[in-house]
């Protein structure tokens, strides 16, 4: 039984006279799922907002028709539309942590959702809430009910939100990047939950994501968007297996999981010297005191990185990978153990010595939106390290900064801009140029692409691979994305709760994981190669 649940016809959305979405049409059938895919700025979230009528009232304007079970959502007066939101239209937000009121318990907020069912009896509402919490896989519904949002993990909060969204038994669930703020293993479980609810409750799922692999694995149909225009649409098997549009093909090629050997040929030209480790971390321990309790953030971690190679530190949040990096950079002091960069110890020396070590060891931060001073120009941002270390005269420094900008592929018209006027990918290039300008030996890359789209991620990785070959750089690559690690890393250390659970050459660890934790990480990578065959739609 498949009938049309949501039908979008010739949808066009403009913000203050600027058209961001045009001529978008698609159909979503009951109990099926459709994924809107595209980069940032492709209009996919805007379409979701138009469907939910959440566009900013003063500047956003939508035209066309959005039919939800035959009712035109856009044409309905607000008073008649409002009852639909929540009851027939459920919404799962991107960041669960900011979607709940931090000063109220989960239970008191859940009653708001439960009230949408029309149930007036508080005890029965409570029973319904606890039931739905159990249904979405929350182990202890009573405790969750009494908790405040900060007492639950991101994955649990997302379960709560999904539970609240499905509680009034909506016909359509709109999920806007429901897992991008979560760890990979949690991501898998949340997606499993959504799939399960969709089939068992017959809910239609409109999934918005930038991750093609994830969409291909989870959706029945794909709509590929670019600059607010549909590039390609159709069943997953068709669009994904044999994309007709150039853009969809390019998107597909940029998915790390689908081209694990993308950089093998390029990287084969490197000269790796295993006898000369660029980074040595031995038996490092770091304990933090949190509320009177001791937390071993890094527990006896050791690894070595051969000069000119890429080593990946893999783990989920709280695994100690960031702390390890901060120890290496001298931003934290270890309780025990030794960290060396090019044979020089990082700790137990004067500030000047640390400065010298850091010259050979630069960091690229995870989020390029926060790591660049918003009041500085691109060129001065990149020149700053040279100025601080007083390398050469003014003219030489300017030349070096410009050379670094050219090396990361930033063109001249961008050099006088401030960081705020750049896109995420351009910002990350600036951050890489800034790290490179001192000509360090080791570059620490702390999830350098996790805030970026797949296409931009691929561009950044292209730059990183090229620079490694050209300059013989050593990379310490921190990531939770195993597909990415598989593409560029030579060796891997898998961390969990501050301990090393597995260690070895990347291909070995990832193809044949020994530890159950590594296996769960590998399994969490969306694998669209085994996509289901398209189920024919019968009217």
């Amino acid at each position: 039984m498949t009938d049309t649940l949501l039908s979008v016809r010739d949808l066009a959305v403009s913000y203050g006279g600027r058209r961001v979405v045009s001529d978008v049409s698609f159909d979503l059938h009951r109990g099926r799922s459709l994924a809107l895919i595209g980069e940032s700025g492709s209009g996919k979230s805007t379409i979701a907002k138009a469907v939910l009528r959440l566009l900013p009232r003063d500047s956003g304007h939508a035209e066309g028709r959005v039919l939800l079970e035959g009712d035109d959502v856009l044409a309905l007066p607000l008073a008649r539309f409002r009852p639909l939101r929540g009851r027939r239209l459920g919404f799962v937000p991107q960041d669960p942590a900011s979607a709940l009121n931090p000063v109220r318990t989960i239970g008191s907020q859940a009653h708001e959702a439960a009230a949408l069912t029309g149930e007036r009896d508080a005890a029965r509402r409570r029973a319904a809430i606890l039931e739905v919490f159990e249904r979405v896989g929350l182990a202890d519904p009573e405790r969750v009910y009494r908790s405040y949002p900060h007492q639950l993990s991101g994955g649990m909060l997302q379960r709560v939100l999904i539970g609240l969204a499905v509680l009034p038994a909506p016909a359509l669930l709109v999920a806007d990047e429901p897992t991008s703020a979560l760890d990979v293993t949690i991501q898998k479980r949340i997606l499993d939950l959504l799939t399960e609810l969709r089939t068992s409750l017959g809910i239609g799922l409109l999934l918005i994501t930038h991750d093609l692999a994830l969409a291909a694995e989870r959706a029945d149909e794909l709509v590929v968007l670019r600059d607010g225009v549909i590039q390609e649409a159709g069943p997953v098997a068709e669009v994904f297996a044999s994309p007709r549009s150039e853009y969809a093909a390019a998107l597909r090629a940029d998915v790390p999981a689908l081209s694990p050997d993308r950089y093998r040929a390029v990287l084969a030209e490197r000269r790796i010297d295993p006898a000369r480790p660029a980074v040595q971390v031995s038996d490092v321990v770091k304990t933090f005191r949190v509320g009177g309790e001791e937390l071993r953030a890094v527990d006896d971690v050791s690894f070595e990185v051969a000069a000119g190679s890429t080593h990946a530190l893999v783990g989920e949040s709280g695994s100690g990978k960031t702390t390890t990096v901060r120890l290496l950079l001298g931003l934290e002091t270890p309780d025990a153990g030794d960290l060396r960069v090019a044979g020089e110890p990082v700790h137990g020396r004067s500030r000047t010595d640390l400065r010298t070590v850091r010259r050979h060891l630069q960091l690229v931060y995870q989020n390029p939106f926060t790591s660049l001073d918003p009041s500085w120009h691109v060129e001065s941002l990149v020149r700053e390290p040279l100025d601080r270390y007083r390398v050469g005269d003014r003219r030489a420094r300017r030349a070096a900064a410009r050379a670094a900008l050219v090396a990361v592929g930033l063109r001249e018209h961008l050099w006088r801009r401030r960081a705020a006027a750049l896109s995420g990918g351009q910002r990350q290039r600036v951050a890489i140029a800034r790290a490179l300008v001192l000509e360090p030996d080791v570059l620490v890359l702390d999830e350098p692409t996790s805030a970026l789209d797949v296409t931009v991620q691929a561009e950044i990785l292209d730059v990183l691979a090229r620079l490694q070959v050209e300059r013989g750089l050593t990379y310490l690559f921190v990531s939770h994305d195993l597909a990415l690690v598989r593409q560029i890393a030579d060796t891997v250390t898998v961390l969990r709760h501050g301990r090393v659970v597995e260690h070895g050459p990347a291909t070995e660890v990832l193809e044949n994981p020994q530890h159950p934790y590594t296996r769960s990480l590998v399994a969490a990578v969306p694998d669209p190669r085994g996509i289901r065959p398209a189920v024919p739609v019968t009217a």
């Binding site: 400065r355 790591s371 700053e384 601080r388 270390y389």
Partner: protein
């Protein structure tokens, strides 16, 4: 995704707002400020009357086409006195704001950036300053320094130091915790360098719009001090002094009070409006 999108959207939003133009009230406020500034710079260009020597045969005339603001008890043109009083009133407000911004800003910056003992000590000093009513503090300072407009300005500035220190401290704290400040330290910047080139420019934005607001407040406070006789003695014509001198004739010749008061109100409101607009634009 949205995390990536939102900064871009926010930027786009701001440009859209800028394109929509400047509100009329802000344009009018700008004009008022420009006129006040012109009065301060070249008072003689705006009036033919002498602010000090009057024609006693024309005393206490009501406002007319000849004397827009009327004349006072010595036959002096009130508009001329207001115009010639602008320089001293505006300049003293500038001095007051300058003291407050520089001293308060530095205290707050150092306290917020270095934290620890420095912060604790500064915070207590600021607490003490905040505990004293600012007008009372100004009166005390003027009493000990001498009855002059310049001293009133200094007093007003000192009494506003605490507010600026507070704001700057919280901004500096916020900026100190940002990733780009840590990045600057990793790139070999010394603490003083990071403080001056990264923390100061980013932390001072809200302090600057507060400074514009404080300028209006300072004009008021200095006028208040002048009204109480804590400024330059007559025949100076500070705005507050004009109001004070006019109050003796409030019943028979109310324009002596209302005209300079209206100028004070217009200038202060204009400055507030512009300050609010600047802050909204950030």
């Amino acid at each position: 995704m949205t995390a990536v999108l939102s900064p871009l959207l926010a930027g786009a939003d701001a440009t859209a707002r800028r394109r929509r133009g400047i509100p009329v009230a802000v344009v009018v406020s700008f004009l008022v400020i420009v006129v006040a500034a012109a009065w301060a710079l070249a008072p003689a260009l705006f009036t033919g009357y002498d602010p000090i020597v009057g024609d006693t045969s024309e005393k206490l005339l009501a406002p007319s086409a000849v004397h827009w603001f009327g004349t006072d008890n010595l036959g002096r043109d009130v508009l001329a006195r207001v115009i010639f009083g602008t320089r001293s009133s505006v300049l003293s407000a500038l001095i007051a704001v300058g003291i407050a911004v520089v001293v308060g800003g530095l205290l707050g910056l150092v306290a917020g950036f270095f934290g620890g003992l420095v912060d604790v000590v500064t915070a207590r000093v600021v607490d003490v300053l905040l505990a004293i009513p600012s007008f009372l503090l100004a009166v005390v300072v003027v009493s000990s320094l001498g009855f002059q407009t310049i001293n009133a300005a200094i007093a007003t500035g000192v009494s506003a130091v605490a507010v600026f220190a507070r704001v700057m401290r919280s901004e500096a704290l916020k900026v100190r915790g940002t990733v780009y400040v840590e990045a600057a330290e990793l790139q070999g910047g010394s603490r003083a360098h990071v403080l001056l080139t990264h923390v100061l420019p980013n932390a001072s934005r809200s302090v600057l719009s507060l400074a514009v607001l404080q300028f209006g407040v300072s004009i008021l406070v200095i006028a208040g001090l002048a009204f109480l006789g804590y400024g330059d003695p007559p025949p100076a014509s500070d705005w507050g002094l004009l109001v004070s001198a006019g109050k003796d004739y409030l019943v028979s010749s109310p324009w002596l009070v209302y005209a300079p008061s209206a100028v004070i109100v217009a200038v202060v409101l204009s400055i507030n409006r512009v300050s609010r607009w600047l802050r909204a634009k950030d």
